[in-house]
Structure formats: structure tokens, C-alpha cells
């Protein structure tokens, strides 16, 4: 048998993401093996381990998976913090860890080691895609982000990517992660932008719950000619986008956007089985499952070294089309989608409608390891 450990935070605040991720992984394995759950004549067995979003548990469980359960490789986790804690374990046991869907740049950046591959996007990919979507001549952009690594890195990557688009950053605003009242931040942004000419956009980079988009919208930024923009999100969060028809940004996934057989199958099967569309992390989970099968096929065995050789530079199918593991940092390069929000009464959320697919080549994602 080939055993895969899915080590992820099944319980805790990211429980919803975790469910999607697991469903995606299983559907990915199923699709890639044509429903047999076998590759190279061997059965694929998935065991689950719950990190409870605790990095210490994550480490222990991954060590247990590699050491005691003797799995061939592991997939997960949801939280970047847990992922970072787990990275050295992979190195210590010399086994693969496919990171999905944790997004921190440093996973494939400064904390990278050669046993780490990542199918999910990283923060830079998000930021650069959004820069491509929002930039243009005579555009002034203010950013609003959480005041920690994710936010600051995101803005930095976004700022770099704006270079050459003609747009300029007018103001950067950072607020503590647990901020609930955005009046002050909004007032600061308004004060900084109200006397500028040209297109004025406020780009919000936000991870987790509590996206301030609608709160700032309630303060009527239109008075000063400021438009709000933000990246994509899971379906539940898209409900808030309904108030902002016409808003633009770039997203990682929305089930109606990618046009390819993999996605068609995913959407159809997901509706059939769960009576709902697949979401962000379902797509991500599926990508990881398909990457695993493809790697096993190409390597012809589950030996770690052979897998690494096979996977560096390997391209594989996913619900988002073809992805490629970049050899340098093992980050999966993938397309992103420039969207515009359309509102329909009988849909509970604002629909991100595709404006343009931002291809792998359109984005210059820095290598940071």
C-alpha cells in the first residue's frame, strides 16, 4: 500500500476550511486514479490526523505519521503556523510534505527545505494577481492590511507588482489583526486620499474572518471617489460582496470560472454528493490529490528521492488547469482570475465574474528561499 497522512486542523476555527480540504483531497485522488484509488498497482490509503490547529500537536502527529505509521508522504495543514512548525519534521524524517492550503510565503521561502512542496497559492501570488487586476495609468491605491507578516508581506509584494502598471500607492494602513472598529483607519485613508485626482482605489488584504470591506463601504467612501477592492474568498464570505456590485479584484478560485474537464467533473460531482458547489479549499485539496498521484506515476515508486526528482518542474492537472512545481522553491505555479462582482437576487453571494485569466507567465512571483 501507499499510505498518505492528511495532517490538518479538523477542529478549531478553521474547521470549515479543513472539511473542504479533505473532501478535495479525496476527490482528487479518486479522479486521478480513475476511481480505483490505486496507482502503480498499489492501493492508496489515507489516514487522518487532527492538529487541532496546535503547532506542537502538528509536529508530534507528523512525526508519528512518518515514524510510527510509516506513511510515504503527508499532506496538510490548514494553518501557516502549524505548517511552519511541521517543516523541519519532514526534513528530519526525510519524507515529503505537500503543503495545502497554508499560504505563508515563508513556507516555500526562508523556512523551505527540499522535502516541502506546495500546491496551494502563496501570499505573493495573491498580491501580484491583485496588482495586475487593479493597476493602471493614473490610479492611486491605498492599502489596508492586518499588521503582521501576512499583511505586510502581502502589501510589499503588491507594491512591487504595481511597478510598471502606472499605478501608485497613496497610503498604507495597517491595523491589528483583531480590530473590529475600522472608523479610524478609514478616516485616515480618506484624509490621505480625498485631495488626489484620478482613479482612487482602496485595496483590502485580509486573512480570516472580519473582512472590513462592508464596514468601510458603510462609511460611504464614494463621497471621495474611492472604490473598494479586495481579493476573492470562500463562498460564505462572498455574501458580503453583494453590497459591492462592480467591485474588482483577483481570486484564487470560484467554481464557475475555470473551464476544464477536471473542474467540470468536480463541480458536477460535488453538487451530486454534497448539494453545494465546491469552494476554495475543495479545489486546493483536489489539486494536492492529483499532484500526489501524478508524482507517484512519474516516479514509479513511493521513494522520497525519486519523488523529489520527479516532482521538481513537474506539471499536473488540477481544477484550475495545469499547475507546475517550480524547481527552485517547489511552489506550484498556477493561474489566478481577475474578477468583477455581479449581483443576482437569487444567489446568496456576490458572484465573481471572470474579467481575465491572469496566466502563470503574467505573474512574476519572487523566489525567496
Amino acid at each position: 500500500d501507499i499510505t498518505i497522512a492528511h495532517v490538518y486542523g479538523k477542529t478549531g476555527p478553521f474547521e470549515a476550511y479543513a472539511k473542504q480540504s479533505h473532501v478535495g483531497l479525496m476527490m482528487g485522488l479518486e479522479y486521478a486514479t480513475g476511481g480505483t484509488m490505486e496507482v502503480n498497482g498499489e492501493k492508496i490509503v489515507v489516514i487522518e490526523k487532527d492538529t487541532q490547529l496546535d503547532p506542537a500537536k502538528g509536529r508530534a502527529l507528523l512525526a508519528e505519521a512518518y515514524g510510527d505509521d510509516e506513511v510515504d508522504l503527508a499532506v496538510g495543514p490548514v494553518s501557516s503556523g502549524v505548517a511552519l512548525a511541521m517543516l523541519p519534521v519532514a526534513e528530519e524524517y526525510e519524507k515529503l510534505l505537500i503543503v495545502e492550503p497554508a499560504v505563508a510565503d515563508s513556507i516555500t521561502g526562508e523556512n523551505f527545505n527540499r522535502y516541502i512542496f506546495r500546491t496551494s497559492r502563496n501570499s505573493s501570488q495573491d498580491a501580484v494577481a491583485n496588482a495586475k487586476a487593479l493597476g493602471g495609468e493614473n490610479v492611486h491605491i491605498a492599502t489596508l492590511a492586518q499588521d503582521y507578516a501576512f499583511g505586510r508581506d502581502g502589501v510589499a509584494a503588491f507594491r512591487d507588482a504595481l511597478d510598471g502598471t502606472g499605478a501608485a500607492i497613496a497610503h498604507e494602513e495597517y491595523v491589528p489583526t483583531d480590530t473590529t472598529d475600522f472608523t479610524a483607519a478609514a478616516e485616515r485613508i480618506f484624509n490621505a486620499m480625498k485631495d488626489l485626482d484620478g482613479d482612487k482605489k482602496l485595496f483590502i488584504i485580509w486573512a480570516g474572518g472580519g473582512n472590513p470591506m462592508s464596514k468601510i463601504n458603510a462609511m460611504d467612501p464614494g463621497r471621495f471617489g474611492i472604490e473598494i477592492a479586495t481579493g476573492g474568498n470562500i463562498l460564505a464570505a462572498l455574501a458580503a460582496y453583494k453590497e459591492l456590485p462592480g467591485m474588482e479584484g483577483a481570486t484564487y478560485y470560484y467554481y464557475e470560472i475555470p473551464q476544464n474537464p477536471v473542474n467540470d467533473w468536480l463541480v458536477e460531482e460535488h453538487f451530486k454528493r454534497y448539494d453545494s458547489p465546491p469552494d476554495f479549499f475543495t479545489a486546493g485539496g483536489m489539486a494536492s490529490g492529483m499532484a500526489v498521484v501524478e508524482a507517484l506515476k512519474q516516479a514509479g515508486s513511493a521513494d522520497t528521492e525519486e519523488l523529489i526528482t520527479a516532482m521538481e518542474g513537474m506539471s499536473f492537472d488540477s481544477p484550475k488547469g495545469t499547475m507546475t512545481f517550480r524547481a527552485e522553491d517547489h511552489q506550484a505555479m498556477q493561474p489566478m482570475y481577475h474578477f468583477k462582482i455581479r449581483v443576482e437576487d437569487d444567489v446568496a453571494w456576490g458572484i465573481p465574474e471572470l474579467v481575465r485569466e491572469i496566466g502563470i507567465d503574467d505573474m512574476d512571483i519572487p523566489i525567496r528561499n
Binding site: 512525526a63 523541519p88 523556512n111
Partner: protein, 352 residues
């Protein structure tokens, strides 16, 4: 000799003595008795939590002070080592420096908080420590350039403490003689020594004054004890030991992050362990930490089995879903407060 070591504070119950001896032996020979990574990790966790919980008991059970900042001190110790290893390089010197620096910082912070709030109601102290601890947790995630923020930091500890270091080529009793084993015994002996030191402390004249203050602070003042000084002292000592535990934990885990050292969840775990074990007994820390860490590690597996077994019934499988393990831990928690108000140690002592 033995009496001196345990400061004349015997377990005072045959069953308790047997259990304690069993725990001591299991921990002492854990690498040989329970092969595998998870059991060893569990044993190390038990050790570290024994220190942490015992130092908390010093404050709670003996000082009568409720604090929610214990994990903060724990975290300070852990981050102290992490930062010094990061900036001073991979050496024992860095470890020592980080540990001492962490302990000093913890002591200073504990001192300030104590001066502020111990003059008033105990409840104040509880709430203020909660607020300060949460502020520190936020600060740690804010200063992400230094601390790695939410993501935490991975440590490069001295090679002698990692599996890569082999000091004997042959396996002995099926156990590899490598740095990990050394690391475990560092954890174990630190625990043993610190525990004995704390046991001595609570049985010293200082300890008896603490008891008096817990009973009637007003009268203790009138008799000539400076209550604030004693309370501050015990808070500071407890904070320093917690920081030390944090440093040890960081070395064992080779990772520090808010979730492993600063989170409120760990604070709750500590409270639970103290209560289950028995407050104001010191031995309660050993029992509490052992029971709790074992339950935490293996409860989910148990629930999965139970959920499958009841899958035909309505609602029950939902409640027994392994994802809901915290629900049951909460229930267990409430029940234990009702039915073991004096903790396991109190129970066993009463039953003799």
C-alpha cells in the same frame, strides 16, 4: 535521605505513593519502555507540564492567587531561547543566555503586574493578568519580524540534542543512542530537580507564611508579615520557573509560536491539570499533568471508535464525532470540579 529529598512531605496515601512511583519510573525509562515517537513526545510533554503546573500550583494552591498569565511567562522563556538561538547561533551558550534572559524578563514582568494588582482583590489580579497576557500575545504576533508572528519560529538547537547526533553507534535495548535521547533526559532531569526544589519551597518557612496569607491576609499583616512582598515573591518565583519550563519546551519542540506557548487554551489546560490533580498539594501537579496529557493525546482515538459504534442512532454520533472532543473534555472538566473538588490527591489522601 529520601525524606530529606522530598522535604518530609510524603504522599500520605499508599495508593498515591504507588501511582507516583509508577509515574516516576515510567518517565525515567520512557524511551526504553515505550518505543515510538509519539509515546516519547507524550512523556516529554508530561514532564514539561509537571513543571508548569507545579509552578502554577505554587501561586494558586499555596499563594491563593489566580493568574491567567502563566502561559505568558512560559512563552517568554520559550521565546527567550528561540531568539537567542536565532541571533547568537546554535550553541549551548545561546541556550543558557536565552534561558536566563527569559527568566529575568518574566520575573520583572511578574513583579510589575504583582505590584499593580496584588494590593487589591484576587479577582482583579485574575482579570488583569488575563488582559496583560492577551496584550502580550497580540504584541508577539505584531512584532512578526522579530518573533515570526502567528507563524512562530523554528529553532536550530545545538546538534547534541538532535537525532542527528549519535553518541553510541549500537542500539541499546532497541533504542538509538542519539541526541533526541539526550534531549529527553535533559527534560526529565530538569523536571525532577525543579519539582523537588518546589516541594522544598512549599515546606519551608516561606511556604508556611504563604499558607497563612492565603488563610487571612489581613491578620498576617497585623502579625508582621508584609503580604504584598510575599505574594509578589511567590508570583515572581512561579513566573521564573514557568519561563524555565518554556525554555525546556522550546528545546524539546524545536519550535515556538503563540499557539504552543501563549494561547489561552494552554492556560485552561493548566488550570484543569491543577484542579484534577489537587490544588496546594504539589503531587497534584504530577497526577494532573499525567492524566490530562494522556487523555488529551488519546481521547480523540477513543471517540472515533465510539462514534462508529453508535452510528445507527440519531444525534449521538454527532456528539461523539471525534471533532467534538473538546465538548467532552469540557463536560469532563465540569464534572471533575464537582466530584473531585480536592483533586485526585485529595481523594486518595481522604480515602486512606
Amino acid at each position: 535521605m529520601l525524606m530529606k529529598l522530598i522535604s518530609g512531605d510524603t504522599p500520605r496515601s499508599p495508593i498515591l505513593s504507588v501511582i507516583l512511583a509508577a509515574i516516576l519510573l515510567s518517565l525515567a525509562f520512557a524511551p526504553f519502555l515505550f518505543p515510538g515517537t509519539r509515546p516519547l513526545d507524550t512523556a516529554a510533554h508530561i514532564c514539561i507540564f509537571i513543571i508548569l503546573v507545579a509552578s502554577y500550583d505554587l501561586m494558586l494552591g499555596y499563594g491563593g492567587i489566580v493568574s491567567f498569565a502563566h502561559t505568558m511567562f512560559f512563552g517568554i522563556g520559550a521565546y527567550g531561547v528561540a531568539l537567542s538561538l536565532e541571533h547568537m547561533g546554535r550553541s549551548f551558550g545561546a541556550v543558557a543566555f536565552g534561558t536566563v534572559a527569559g527568566m529575568i524578563l518574566a520575573a520583572a514582568l511578574a513583579f510589575v503586574i504583582a505590584m499593580f494588582s496584588l494590593r487589591v482583590r484576587a479577582i482583579f489580579f485574575a482579570m488583569i493578568t488575563l488582559a496583560v497576557a492577551s496584550a502580550v500575545a497580540v504584541l508577539v504576533s505584531q512584532f512578526s519580524t522579530l518573533t515570526g508572528g502567528e507563524d512562530g519560529m523554528t529553532l536550530k538547537i545545538p546538534r547534541e540534542l538532535t537525532p542527528a547526533f549519535k553518541f553510541h553507534d549500537e542500539k541499546i535495548l532497541g533504542v538509538r543512542m542519539n541526541g533526541k535521547l539526550l534531549n529527553y533526559y535533559m527534560v526529565f532531569f530538569s523536571t525532577l530537580i525543579l519539582f523537588l526544589v518546589m516541594l522544598r519551597m512549599v515546606n519551608s518557612p516561606f511556604g508556611s507564611v504563604l499558607k497563612a496569607i492565603r488563610e487571612n491576609a489581613f491578620r498576617a499583616e497585623a502579625v508582621g508579615y508584609r503580604v504584598v512582598v510575599y505574594r509578589t515573591a511567590v508570583t515572581v518565583i512561579s513566573a521564573m520557573i514557568a519561563a524555565l519550563a518554556g525554555a525546556i519546551y522550546a528545546l524539546w519542540l524545536r519550535y515556538v509560536g503563540p499557539a504552543t506557548t501563549l494561547s489561552f487554551d494552554i492556560m485552561l489546560d493548566i488550570l484543569l491539570m491543577v484542579v484534577i490533580g489537587g490544588m496546594g498539594t504539589m503531587y497534584g501537579a504530577v497526577i494532573g499533568a499525567t492524566v490530562f496529557v494522556l487523555a488529551q493525546t488519546y481521547l480523540q482515538d477513543l471517540m472515533g471508535t465510539a462514534s462508529d459504534a453508535t452510528s445507527a442512532l440519531p444525534l449521538i454520533p454527532d456528539l461523539l464525532n471525534p471533532d467534538r472532543w473538546l465538548l467532552w473534555l469540557g463536560v469532563l472538566f465540569i464534572l471533575s470540579i464537582y466530584f473531585f473538588p480536592t483533586g485526585v490527591v485529595g481523594r486518595l489522601r481522604g480515602a486512606k
